[in-house]
């Protein structure tokens, strides 16, 4: 089987979704580590220098563009599969089993993924695009040679609006629900289902990616809003 055929099979496509999913999971971890600097009460020095570095380092920028491609790929292939899956049952059941036979989370991947995608687009438009392509107030810090863009203050200003806070929290709820199933599901897709490791995989999937990370992300706008 040629590569083109292999990755066009249902399993091949799922492998791509799983692989891109894993990559996105790793990104989420790194992104959270950076973003938590928003909560430092240092006038944004740590966060803004971090943002400055990330925004101008060649390798990071290369990865950042890769990331966007991966997101598009992940969403696109998942969409392809979803369309195919819907088409596989042209006449629907009148009665469905609900949660009797499968978890609610596992059935909402496409919905949660779509909410996440909308969130990501809004998020990029609000913070990433202005940072890269628009004028932004700058700030000077001790030990930093020249003034740098003050993304920190822009972010704080953004989260003074409760509607944006709610949107970000909703986005993180979608992330949580998406990963509660997605993380362990990707392992199954890669064939990793083993009684010795399933406990660990399920634990990390639920508590780290499903709960801790989304909660920590969501905490940032909430804390900023409450501290205004």
């Amino acid at each position: 089987m040629k590569w083109s055929q292999f990755f066009n099979t249902s399993i091949g496509k799922k492998l791509l979704v799983g692989a891109t999913g894993f990559f996105l999971c790793s990104f989420v971890l790194v992104h959270l580590a950076g973003n938590l600097q928003l909560l430092y009460k240092d006038g944004g020095k740590a966060f803004n220098t971090y943002a400055q570095f990330m925004g101008h380092n060649g390798l990071i920028q290369f990865l950042a563009w890769g990331l966007k491609i991966v997101i598009v790929l992940h969403a696109f292939i998942a969409l392809q599969l979803t369309i195919r899956n819907r088409a596989a049952r042209p006449v629907k059941y009148q009665v469905n089993p609900g949660n009797q036979t499968s978890s609610w989370f596992s059935r909402q991947m496409a919905i949660m993924g779509s909410i996440l995608l909308i969130f990501i687009v809004v998020h990029l438009a609000q913070l990433w695009a202005p940072f890269h392509y628009a004028e932004m107030p700058t700030q000077s810090y001790e030990g930093v040679s020249e003034p740098i863009k003050d993304l920190y203050s822009v972010t704080y200003a953004l989260f003074q609006n409760p509607l944006w806070v709610i949107l970000y929290v909703v986005g993180m709820i979608a992330l949580s629900f998406h990963l509660i199933h997605g993380f362990k599901s990707a392992f199954q897709t890669f064939g990793l289902n083993h009684s010795k490791y399933n406990g660990l995989i399920n634990f990390i999937g639920l508590w780290l990616f499903g709960i801790a990370i989304p909660v920590a992300f969501a905490a940032i706008p909430v804390v900023i809003y409450l501290n205004k």
Binding site: T9, S10, R84, R89, Y93, V95, S185, L192, N193
Partner: protein, 254 residues
């Protein structure tokens, strides 16, 4: 066990043939004994329909002891009904009570077109087996059976996978109409046994390709198939199929 009689309302899918649109028909099933099997309840309803000069409900069934895999009803939203690890024919009316309304639908999947009423065409499964669900050994080729020792644990796992009766409940239960549990059961059985090794790569590739061609959906690991499988085939088989497929895809030379 106390026995009781009940009156039920059935909402059953009626469809004249492949090309008919189909619709639900509401029927009354009276004086149904709790000792009847679900299909015997249908026998009673059909007898009544025949006596009234109407057409009985067509449904697939044969052995009525849970092994042939022919019976296939989606009952109140559940493939093979509410009991776990049970085929429709082994489901008994004790599962219901007087006054219940029961909705009975055929397996729903594009790859399983409805032929009439509750009868569907599952020949797609045969074609998947044709694509590689066998060991290529002609009659008479075999060596002495005990020349092939098999680790007991693996033999037991292979048996558990081979218990699949090909009823299609996995497809019916899956929100994507995926046939992965069925395919993985056969691939696993033969991947676990040394007899299946010479063909394991082509088997995994060809069976998955055929599965896709038949129009089944893909697996999103919801686990509904495992929950509804009357033979309780494990999801670990799907993981094994994925491993077999990855290994084959990355290492096959053609």
């Amino acid at each position: 066990m106390e026995h009781y009689n009940m009156n039920l309302t059935l909402k059953v899918w009626r469809q004249k043939n492949k090309n008919d649109q189909g619709r639900f028909e509401t029927l009354q099933a009276k004086n149904i004994s709790s000792e009847m099997s679900f299909l015997e309840m249908f026998d009673v309803v059909n007898e009544e329909l025949i006596n009234e000069g109407k057409e009985p409900i067509a449904f697939d069934h044969d052995c009525r002891e849970g092994i042939c895999g022919m019976c296939s009803m989606h009952i109140n939203g559940r493939a093979h009904g509410p009991w776990e690890g049970t085929t429709t024919c082994q489901l008994h009316m004790r599962a219901f009570k007087d006054g219940d309304t029961i909705v009975v639908e055929p397996w729903r999947a594009g790859a399983f077109p409805v032929l009439k009423d509750l009868t569907v065409d599952r020949s797609a499964f045969d074609r998947i087996i044709e694509a590689g669900g066998y060991v290529s050994v002609n009659t008479g080729n075999a060596q002495d059976a005990n020349n092939i020792p098999v680790e007991k644990h693996k033999a037991d796992l292979a048996f558990a996978a081979a218990a699949c009766i090909g009823c299609g409940a996995c497809v019916a239960a899956c929100k994507n109409s995926s046939a992965m549990l069925f395919v993985s059961a056969k691939v696993s059985q033969l991947a676990l046994l040394p007899q299946g090794h010479p063909e394991r790569r082509t088997r995994a590739l060809n069976m998955v390709a055929q599965m896709d061609k038949e129009g089944f959906g893909s697996c999103t690991n919801t686990g509904a198939c495992e929950a509804e499988c009357p033979k309780e085939i494990s999801l670990t088989n799907i993981a094994r199929l994925n491993r077999e497929f990855i290994n084959a895809g990355f290492t096959s030379e053609k």
